[in-house]
């Protein structure tokens, strides 16, 4: 991988490459932005480009240095990850110890700290001195998706680089080229991923797309007049495991969000579930905006209750009752509400 393989993030790449070109590298960087948009990859490529034997502003991917970094065997490119919940003070002390010497073989020793926000308070404080004035030839790159959790003393010592969520079209193109998916699938994945390539790739591997289609099919196929008790089956079909239910509720919630967006903007570009626009339109016309808002709250409450180990079946059924209360305005459903 080299800079040109990274999807989007033109400005960020530009800043890093210009820093190499003009030799104005800061000693501490903070890469932040949502999950799965290339922060960690960029950090590794930056490390490669800095140490590349070819000496350009991008990695060549062929010299021994680049190869070693790719294989994680380079002695001067060190990745620090949380062990368990936190990055502990021992890790920081190790880092401090390692940074005392000149790099073994590379030009720069690069520390890449993944999930830097997981440093606990002692670790963060222990890092401060090193972060402000590390020994020459050391570069620290902190990577995080939650920069606001880091203390301001850390933030003030780093050069901050914000990574953006990636436009839908670019994700879709990227998926088509790199991951060999067909066109429709790529579009659907791109819009569901909300700008995160990592999420799109994960969704492709997992079965979440399948889930989504199931949920949506159920909504679409369910006819209150013919099957008034359908919502019970529906609640049942939301799954067994906590995680599965969570995920499906998320899909349902996003669908409600889509209805809201369509209702208010009348546009379909920013909808998450691009594959079921007609259904979304249909239901969105039947509900008022505040109904949809209430629906989202109801689903959120149910998800929280399940997270807190409430009875799954009861919670889901009562959620469906409440949603149904407003979802369909036929007389039959009115009667059911009285029941």
């Amino acid at each position: 991988m080299s800079f040109k393989n990274i999807c989007d993030q033109e400005r960020q790449k530009d800043i890093l490459q210009r820093a190499i070109q003009t030799e104005r590298m800061a000693h501490a960087y903070l890469f932040y932005g949502i999950e799965g948009i290339g922060k960690k990859t960029s950090a590794r490529i930056f490390a490669k480009a800095l140490n590349c034997r070819e000496g350009g502003i991008d990695s060549c991917d062929e010299c021994p240095s680049c190869v070693k970094i790719d294989r994680n065997t380079h002695p001067d490119v060190i990745t620090i990850e949380p062990k368990g919940t936190f990055i502990k003070i021992e890790d920081i002390r190790n880092l401090h110890g390692q940074s005392q010497f000149r790099p073994f073989e590379g030009k720069k020793r690069v520390f890449i700290m993944v999930d830097a926000d997981r440093m606990n308070n002692p670790s963060a404080n222990a890092l401060l001195k090193t972060l402000e004035e590390p020994n020459p030839s050391n570069i620290l790159i902190l990577v995080t998706s939650r920069p606001y959790l880091l203390p301001s003393t850390i933030l003030s010592r780093c050069q901050k680089l914000r990574f953006n969520p990636i436009q839908k079209e670019k994700i879709s193109r990227f998926l088509k080229e790199k991951a060999v998916v067909d066109r429709n699938m790529a579009d659907v994945l791109a819009s569901s991923s909300r700008g995160s390539i990592g999420k799109a790739l994960r969704m492709m591997e997992e079965t979440s797309l399948l889930f989504k289609n199931e949920v949506i099919e159920m909504i679409a196929a369910w006819d209150v007049d013919k099957n008034p008790l359908g919502f019970l089956t529906f609640a049942d079909a939301l799954g067994d495991g906590k995680k599965v239910v969570w995920e499906r509720l998320d899909i349902l919630k996003n669908w409600y969000r889509d209805m809201l967006v369509y209702k208010e903007t009348g546009e379909t570009i920013s909808l998450i579930h691009q594959d079921i626009i007609p259904i979304t339109k249909k239901y969105s016309d039947m509900l008022t905006g505040s109904d949809i808002l209430r629906g989202i709250t109801i689903i959120e409450q149910a998800a929280r209750a399940i997270d807190q180990n409430a009875n799954k079946q009861l919670t889901l059924e009562s959620m469906m009752f409440k949603l149904l209360g407003m979802a369909v305005g036929t007389p039959q459903s009115c009667d059911m509400r009285v029941m």
Binding site: H96, L128, R146, P165, S270
Partner: protein, 550 residues
């Protein structure tokens, strides 16, 4: 030579270079001049304002071979060693990594040896707030009376974590945030000496982004330089500083105040894809609406000083778009959602919902306005409408069969005792709880000429039970006891819908009594009479009735 970031390259080396901390610098310089140097200092203040730098300059000034003087020479071996951080006599310790009692014991062991090349042995402990409680306590004795050749300097951003026993043994210097103007001047100096062209406006923007910390501003400046080269355009800065985020802020608050939910969603979408962190955006939105409310309350006070002029104008424009009550409620929504946004795994969705909720908010009429309207109405009622009161029909619909009896019977005993039905039921409850539970849901229809008429809704479950002769006989018996008179009881069936309407006032009394009646009633109240007696010339101006909860 290796490239150094601006904050390191331009770290002040003499007191004169320290920006915006005149109160500290002057005290220290005078202390050196008059040879009154304390043995322990503690420097506190926000990040990046010069605490560590001042500690280093002070050690140089004290230990300089040319000195001790107010201005360290920065040439002699002592000064150079301190700058490079290799001096044997000036030890800079990272309090956050060496925070235990063992490190402090070691320090105490070494303290007794006199300095090697300089006058004083100086210990600078940075981030001192991270020392453990035991470590602090182990330091106390040494700190109070150290050997004459030892000076301690502590630096911390969190002074409240340092125990009072430590604080009382040190000279405490509190560093202030640096003003935007001073930061901008400092940046300007750097730009000039590094041959960088940048507009004054750009410098101000960068200075502002530092939020009072000179290091923050310098590292932003660094970033701007590495992005824009030596010739920096305003656009570069705008882009890099995320000043466009502020634009989203105004766009969305405009949309909310104009109650355009669709535009809110579009702004969020746009902001999301340009990388605005949704949780952070929420925070500035919260702050923004707080500002709006403050403007509304104070008519734009001095608290807005840290905002640029054109933003203040826009803020004022937005504040004028809604009433104070609406602003208050918008802020309320934001505050109740704060916890949700913090916990949310999908902050964008939470933010979207919240924005739409805010946009849906119906504008409300201020309470003062409502009250003044009511007062106005009251006056009209008092002056003109009073005589007609009796002929105005009660403002709720009574069940069909009763109409006549009721309308013709204001002189009936209801006016005498408006709570007749309630009292009657309480009486029955005392005497016969079972019977009471059956007649409880009955509706009082009328009471006159010794006949009590009670209605029950159609299909009432105990209807047959009550109309049974023995029950009626018992009821009549109890009624006789209650009224002290022969009273006949009539039970009627009410059509379903009329019962619903009637449920509003089960005792069958028109709820809106004339204002005069209420006033008289209040005047007759013993408490009110007592008040009138005590305060001469007291007047009854307004009577506010409480709703009877049922």
């Amino acid at each position: 030579m290796e490239y150094l970031v601006l904050a390191r390259k331009w770290r002040p080396q003499i007191f004169e270079d320290v920006v915006g901390q005149d109160h500290v610098v002057r005290t220290l310089k005078n202390a050196i001049k008059y040879n009154r140097i304390a043995h322990a200092f503690i420097f506190s203040g926000p990040r990046g304002v010069g605490k560590t730098s001042v500690a280093r300059i002070l050690s140089k000034a004290i230990n300089c071979k040319e000195g001790p003087g107010e201005i360290p020479c920065n040439v002699c071996s002592n000064c150079r060693e301190i700058t490079e951080g290799v001096s044997l006599d000036v030890r800079e310790i990272d309090g956050a990594s060496n925070r235990g009692i063992d490190e402090i014991r070691e320090l105490r062991e070494n303290i007794k040896f006199s300095p090697i090349t300089s006058r004083y042995k100086i210990y600078i402990i940075d981030e001192v707030h991270m020392l453990t409680k035991e470590a602090f306590n182990a330091l106390l004795k040494t700190l109070e009376e150290p050997p004459p050749h030892v000076i301690f300097m502590f630096a911390t951003t969190e002074i409240y974590k340092v125990p009072a026993t430590i604080l009382s043994r040190c000279q405490h210097f509190d560093f202030k945030r640096v003003s935007i103007r001073q930061i901008a001047e400092n940046l300007g100096k750097i730009a000039a000496s590094d041959g960088i062209t940048i507009s004054d406006k750009g410098l101000l923007w960068i200075a502002q982004s530092g939020e009072g910390s000179i290091r923050d501003a310098q590292s932003v400046f660094d970033q701007v330089i590495s992005y824009g080269g030596t010739d920096i355009k305003d656009d570069d800065i705008e882009e890099l500083l995320g000043l466009k985020d502020r634009r989203f802020l105004f766009d969305i608050s405009d949309a909310i105040l104009e109650r355009d939910a669709g535009r809110c969603l579009k702004v969020i979408d746009e902001g999301y894809y340009s990388g605005v962190d949704m949780k952070q955006f929420f925070q500035i939105l919260l702050h923004h609406f707080r500002n709006l409310l403050l403007i509304k309350i104070t008519d734009g006070g001095s608290f807005l000083e840290d905002l640029p002029g054109d933003e203040i104008d826009r803020l004022k424009g937005q504040a004028a778009k809604a009433t104070r009550e609406t602003h208050q409620r918008l802020l309320d929504i934001l505050m109740t959602e704060e916890e949700n946004v913090k916990r949310s795994l999908d902050p964008r969705l939470t933010l979207e919902c919240m924005a739409v909720k805010m946009a849906y908010l119906e504008p409300i009429v201020p309470l003062d306005e409502i009250i003044s309207k009511i007062e106005h109405l009251e006056k009209r009622l008092l002056s003109g409408l009073t005589p007609e009161r009796r002929s105005t029909p009660p403002n709720h619909i009574l069940p069909e069969p009763v109409h006549k009896t009721y309308e013709s019977g204001p002189e009936g005993s209801i006016d005498g005792d408006p709570n007749l039905w309630d009292n009657y039921r309480i009486f029955i409850k005392k005497k016969d709880p079972i019977l009471h539970s059956k007649i409880r849901s009955g509706t009082f229809l009328s009471f006159d000429s010794k006949c009590l008429r009670v209605g029950f809704p159609e299909g009432y479950i105990f209807f047959d039970d009550i109309t049974e002769n023995s029950r009626l006989a018992r009821l009549t018996e109890l009624s006789k006891e209650y009224f002290n008179d022969e009273v006949s009881i009539t039970i009627e069936v009410l059509p379903r819908n009329s019962v619903n309407d009637d449920a509003v006032s089960p005792n069958g009394i028109p709820q809106a009594k004339g204002t005069n009646d209420v006033k008289n009633e209040a005047l007759n109240h013993p408490l009110v009479q007592k008040v009138m007696d005590v305060f001469e010339g007291a007047e009854l101006c307004e009577v506010i009735t409480r709703d009877k909860d049922r």
